[in-house]
């Protein structure tokens, strides 16, 4: 953006963008700038927060009942072709997971092969980034990160168990290439009803609330192999 060294202009553009008076071509250009100028995007966020109480004062009005099914339709039941595509993606994800597991299994130091294996991948690239394994009777989860670049300085990566129909449960923080996380009970009890794991980006030391607060970066199925 050609106004990087004009703080007053930046402030005014951010304010008018948040208020809504920046329109047409100017609005479009501003949006392009926002994409690669995070500081300008922060300025817009600050203005959105300042003006947000205005929206609080609008009298709520329930939308017609037909709106929600339409949202579901658009998100999850669109066209058979896209469903097939989605299935294809799942299948290729599973293949990648299996390949990663095959690569990793010989590295496991435990004598008994791990029973629970979770492979978490980056949804944007579908690349596996983290593998977690546990022997069924042990209280330890072995976490291996496959890509050192996933660690973000000044933030913690927190690993979560996503139990069927329940709140996420923190399994601990992932730091370095190999982490051993203590499970509250043997893997059969702690992971038996957990179909998936996820990693979220949290403040240093982990989520202050006991639930994920930051963006969820990686997810993947947690499978019991034997």
């Amino acid at each position: 953006m050609n106004c990087r060294n004009k703080p007053e202009l930046r402030e005014r553009l951010a304010a008018e963008y948040a208020l809504g008076t920046l329109r047409g071509r100017a609005r479009e250009r501003m949006r392009h700038w926002l994409d690669d100028d995070p500081e300008l995007a922060r300025e817009v966020e600050r203005w959105e927060a300042r003006l947000a109480p205005l929206a609080e004062a609008v009298q709520p009005l329930a939308p017609p009942a037909r709106v929600w099914p339409k949202i579901e339709q658009r998100l999850w039941f669109r066209k058979p072709s896209s469903l097939w595509k989605a299935l294809g993606l799942v299948a290729s994800g599973a293949a990648a997971a299996l390949a990663a597991v095959t690569l990793l299994l010989p590295l496991q130091p435990t004598e008994v092969p791990a029973s629970y294996i979770a492979v978490l991948s980056d949804p944007k690239t579908s690349h596996p980034v983290l593998v977690a394994t546990a022997a069924r009777t042990e209280r330890v989860l072995h976490v291996t990160t496959l890509d050192p670049a996933i660690h973000v300085s000044g933030r913690s990566l927190e690993l979560w168990a996503l139990p069927r129909g329940g709140q996420p449960k923190s399994l601990g923080l992932v730091a370095g290439e190999k982490t051993e996380l203590k499970l509250v009970a043997a893997a059969d009890q702690s992971l038996g009803e957990v179909p998936a794991l996820a990693v979220s980006l949290e403040p240093p030391g982990g989520s202050p609330t006991g639930q994920p607060t930051g963006p969820v970066l990686y997810t993947g199925p947690c499978v019991k192999y034997w």
């Binding site: 208020l19 008076t21 609005r27 929206a55 609008v58 949202i71 639930q211």
Partner: protein, 183 residues
């Protein structure tokens, strides 16, 4: 009464993890407010419904990028729906002329601005809005609630374009200074 921000944050986090039930709960908790915001700007129910759908599709898809440290969930979602509506207004749109909004501001009928000034949890912004010149306040409210552009503001307030631009700019600058002092 809006649900507490922490409850909404949890629902957004669950949605990011693919939990559809949580996403439905989030919709139920927030849609009436967002629908009212959209309807006020677009002034046509069918358009507001469409904007609302697009808003929630976007919320689901971007839930993983939502950062609670940077914006309250309601602020984040309100910005999404307002941006959808403002993009929509680019299309020629004679029905969106906000005659009745102007009447409301001129009448004794308590509009959102009056409710805002009465509401406790939004007291700081209400106080700061009161400290503005009446014309600045009116221009900002019409822009925010009704999505009026500078040109539409000029037309409705029967003032030259340059004058309303100045009202908006000075009003925003004073609002910011006032809000910083309230902290």
């Amino acid at each position: 009464m809006a649900p507490p921000a922490e409850a909404l944050e949890r629902l957004v986090a669950r949605s990011a993890l693919g939990d559809r039930a949580a996403f439905h709960e989030l919709y139920q908790a927030t849609a009436p407010k967002l629908f009212a915001v959209a309807l006020r700007i677009l002034r046509r129910e069918d358009w507001a419904e469409e904007a609302l759908q697009e808003c929630y599709v976007s919320v689901w898809r971007h839930a993983a990028e939502y950062n609670a440290a940077r914006a309250a969930p309601m602020t984040w979602m309100t910005s999404i729906v307002r941006n959808r509506c403002l993009d929509w207004l680019r299309k020629p749109n004679p029905e969106a002329l906000a005659e009745d909004a102007l009447n409301e501001l001129e009448s004794d009928n308590p509009g959102p601005l009056a409710r805002l000034e009465a509401a406790r949890d939004t007291a700081a912004l209400g106080r700061c809005l009161r400290s503005l010149d009446a014309r600045q306040r009116q221009a900002i409210a019409l822009a925010f609630y009704d999505g009026l552009s500078h040109a539409e503001l000029a037309q409705h307030l029967r003032q030259p374009l340059g004058t309303v631009k100045t009202w908006v700019r000075r009003g925003l600058a004073r609002l910011r200074t006032c809000l910083e002092l309230q902290k």
